[in-house]
């Protein structure tokens, strides 16, 4: 607190804060209840993972990439395996591609439901949070049934997937899906109609389409701002070129739209899983393991639950990558999000923050991030000085 009550208060969110589930720091300048400036300071969970990739064999890299982000671990392994497969010049068999899509979508459902629960909690709606997470157990059990673990699936491998599903498993999964669908449809109605949720999210944190394109936001955040992008459709990977699905786009551009995009995507994902399991091609699930790669370079893009995920792999031969660059969706979204806070009240901070589905463990990995945030700090300091003079 500086000076009298009407002056600007420095409100510091994090590194430990109930609204943040990972250590990250946001410095807000608030005037009364209004945020005038938001500065993210990222880098608290930097783990040097990209360097570690260079030290580890390709086969170990799968499990490392899984740990960049636990929640969207399947997206990371799919992306990593695709990059390695590209460099190695191999193509996984069709059944593996379908199974990848299935687990990828189950992972998306689990990630989106997690976020919707967290969104409810951040809005102070604990009951909805508890109920959504209770029903999220349904999909967690399915992931456990198919991959062998609730979260860390360890399902993909170079040249295919590691486990097959039998008819019994498929039947079990198909039996649970309608139950899940019914619950998600119920929550869709809740998010659509509930007066307090609407009061808190509609017309909050508006990111117009023009700005969304300018800031290069990705994933549900872009789709909530009427930007029609989805890597699954635009550059199909795995089995997405054969599976019919809709890309959910909303044009309200606010927090509510971003949440609704995710609810609808869950429903869409349930359909994808159902279609993929019903049209599962027979055959092998993986190619024989290859340990070394020829020199080469590959870029792999995947639609992770939070948006576009990009892996750039450079190989100079041998069993370890020469360089692996990861760009996670939160990094793309965070810069746009810190603009959204301005002009809103303190109460809107958690709502806006949750609408980008931040995953800081993903973000804090690259040196580039630190450079960028350093830059933005400088800019804001100058701006602050100017503000002080005025």
């Amino acid at each position: 607190m500086e000076g009298s009550l009407t002056s600007i208060i420095n409100l510091i969110f994090g590194p430990q804060h109930p609204a943040l589930h990972e250590p990250e720091l946001f410095r807000f300048k608030v005037e009364g209840e209004i945020v005038v400036k938001a500065e993210p300071r990222i880098g608290y969970v930097h783990r040097g993972i990209e360097k570690l990739f260079e030290k580890n064999a390709y086969i170990k890299g799968i499990y490392l990439s899984e740990r960049i982000c636990g929640i969207c671990n399947v997206a990371h392994t799919v992306c990593y395996c695709q990059a390695v497969e590209n460099v190695m010049n191999i193509e996984p068999p069709p059944r593996a591609k379908y199974l990848r899509a299935v687990v990828h979508e189950l992972n998306r459902i689990h990630s989106h439901l997690l976020l919707l629960g967290v969104a409810a909690e951040e809005l102070g709606f604990d009951t909805l949070f508890m109920l959504i997470w209770r029903d999220r157990e349904l999909v967690m059990d399915l992931i456990e049934l198919i991959t062998g673990n609730r979260v860390m699936s360890a399902f993909n491998t170079i040249g295919g997937v590691r486990r097959d599903v039998n008819a019994e498993t498929i039947e079990k999964v198909l039996k649970v899906l309608p139950k899940l669908e019914e619950r998600v449809k119920y929550y869709r109605k809740v998010f659509e109609e509930d007066p307090t949720i609407r009061k808190r999210t509609v017309d909050v944190g508006i990111l117009p389409r023009r700005d969304a394109i300018r800031y290069c936001v990705v994933g549900p955040m872009a789709r909530g701002s009427a930007v029609d992008v989805d890597i699954r459709r635009d550059i199909p990977y795995a089995a997405y070129d054969e599976i019919p699905f809709n890309v959910i786009v909303r044009d309200e551009c606010d927090v509510w739209a971003r949440l609704m995009v995710r609810v609808d995507e869950v429903l869409e994902s349930i359909n994808i899983v159902r279609y993929a399991l019903e049209h599962l091609p027979s055959g092998q699930i993986r190619l024989p393991l290859k340990r070394s790669a020829p020199p080469g370079e590959a870029i792999s893009r995947v639609e992770a639950p939070r948006g576009e995920l990009l892996y750039h792999l450079v190989s100079k031969g041998g069993i370890t990558p020469y360089r692996l660059k990861v760009r996670t969706p939160t990094l793309a979204n965070l810069l746009a999000a810190s603009k959204l806070f301005e002009g809103h009240t303190i109460a809107d901070i958690p709502a806006i923050l949750v609408s980008i589905d931040p995953c800081f463990a993903c973000t804090d990995r690259v040196t580039l991030v630190d450079v960028k945030s350093g830059k933005s700090t400088k800019v804001s300091l100058r701006e602050l000085a100017r503000r002080g003079r005025e």
Partner: protein, 141 residues
């Protein structure tokens, strides 16, 4: 926009419903068959090739050299010691083992106050079983 929240009905119903919580140490949930739990290692099948230790992404498998020659120049095999506290249960070792000496189980309740309980060291008998395999082979020649 409706004025009465839709959740009202469900919340009232929940009051008389049994909670969804399982009180974990008292009641346990059913684990599906393919769950990746603590893996078993069997000395009968192990040939000490050391592939598991080489592929382990977290270094949870320590490789212990074991002299299997019955005299003359020493000949080493690599026997795994499992440090479960470092294990991420990716089952790469189960997958890579050429003789299926590492077997999956669904045991997941591994927390303990005693670190030695989460380290699986081969016993003397197990080591001699492995050593015997090679001694027989070299003796047969």
């Amino acid at each position: 926009m409706k004025l009465i929240p839709r959740l009202l009905k469900e919340v009232v119903r929940n009051v008389t419903k049994k909670p969804a919580t399982l009180q974990y140490p008292i009641e346990k949930r059913e684990i599906p068959e393919g769950f990746r739990g603590r893996m078993k290692w069997s000395a009968e099948r192990c040939i000490g090739c050391g592939l598991c230790g080489m592929d382990c992404p977290t270094g949870a498998i320590e490789l212990m050299p074991l002299n299997v020659s019955s005299g003359g120049r020493p000949q080493y095999r690599r026997i795994p010691i499992f440090h479960y506290y470092r294990c991420i249960f990716c089952y790469q070792c189960v997958e890579v083992c050429p003789t299926k000496a590492i077997l999956p189980t669904t045991e997941y309740d591994l927390s303990t106050y005693d670190k030695s309980k989460v380290v699986r060291k081969p016993s003397k008998e197990e080591l001699s079983i492995i050593a015997n395999k090679f001694m027989k082979r070299s003796g047969g020649k």
